[in-house]
Symmetry: C2
Subunit: 200 residues, 2 copies
DNA sequence: GCCGCTATCTTGACACTGTCAAGACTGGAG
DNA sequence: CTCCAGTCTTGACAGTGTCAAGATAGCGGC
């Protein structure tokens, strides 16, 4: 556990990711600078570059972890079983909102423009992120099929539209734009109604 | 039109906003630096500070213009008259998506975290942004009332949820996350279905 | 045990950013 | 004409990501 501070750190990369997460929580995504991170980890400013190609690569790695959690969250949601549809959706929606609002900086990193538009996202990030979505779409497809609704290519579209609702809600909430944290409960319920309504 | 380049520019501020918009389009929100802007406008780097307190203030001013356009767009939408509901909503949704995807950088600026969370938004920005939303909520309230649905505090919640859907869709589209530009037509139609379904 | 190779870490330097401080100009009011 | 307040400028500083080149150390082969 306690390490004599030798020239070779031994387990940088992991330490970097850990400290980066803490720094993210503390200073936000804009406050996360490689130099601060290096200093905090007790290493010189260029050391991280031996474990990550870029600042972008480091952020992508961090975001990828987040998407793994998100995927687990989708798996946990009781969307498929004979369970009540509204109840299942409500659970997922609440879980998603909670995930996003508990760690806003992390969520912003995962879905933020800096990674996806400005810096090119890593292949690993792309894959992990889309895996979570694909899983969600499959679940929704199962529901549609079981309720034998007019299917078509609809499951995908519905998954996109409903995820957009969730995502937009989280963004508005986290940035404090049109919906207040105090409204969270009621608005999320309205979102559930939206999704359920279209599923009948 | 042609100005002898005198010591006093005469109409900076306006020129700054104009050039800033162009620079935004060209280099994206991250590429918009005050120094580049100043040089492009043909003025020294500190000149903008006599017309805007901050970089933040300048960006807020730019975003405010955007929200004025958005408000006009809400006003244009045929949401209230006896017109077919689906048709009216579809028009608004398409208009909104078009607004966001035609000028992604501008949209990102308007609703982005840098202004709303990191830097404190100007009072003017706050006001303009919320005015647009309020107008939208009123329209929706009118629809609900005319169709005498169970009202309650629902208009506001519905406005929040549906705006979130739109917003999330635009974000996903512009950042290229779960929904591709090629899917735009179909997904937006699904969004319309979402909103209409919950209005019955 | 020793040599050398390679992964790892370091310091120096550069171009870039936003902004504080202090000076230079100038158009208009008195 | 004078002076002043509004406008613009240059100098400086701390902070950023990252290229280049040097320092260190652990590990396999002899």
């Amino acid at each position: 556990m306690d390490k004599a501070p030798s020239y070779h750190h031994g387990d940088l990369r992991a330490a970097l990711l850990r400290e980066a997460d803490a720094l993210l929580r503390q200073d936000g995504i804009n406050g996360l600078s490689l130099r601060k991170l290096a200093e905090r980890t007790g290493v010189s400013r260029m050391a991280p570059y031996h474990h990550f190609q870029d600042k972008n690569a480091l952020l992508c790695a961090l975001a990828t972890e987040g998407f793994h959690e998100l995927e687990a969250l989708v798996d946990l949601a009781q969307l498929d079983e004979g369970q009540d549809l509204t109840q299942g959706l409500r659970g997922f929606v609440h879980g998603y909102l909670r995930f996003a609002t508990d760690h806003p900086e992390r969520y912003e990193l995962m879905f933020g423009r800096p990674l996806w538009k400005a810096g090119a996202p890593t292949d690993a990030l792309r894959e992990t992120a889309f895996a979570a979505f694909r899983r969600y779409a499959e679940r929704l497809g199962g529901i549609i099929q079981r309720a034998n609704l007019p299917e078509g290519a609809r499951p995908l579209r519905l998954a996109q539209a409903s995820w957009a609702t969730l995502h937009g809600l989280c963004k508005l909430l986290n940035d404090g734009i049109y919906v207040d944290r105090a409204d969270m409960e009621e608005v999320s319920e309205e979102a559930v109604r939206l999704m359920v309504a279209v599923l009948r």
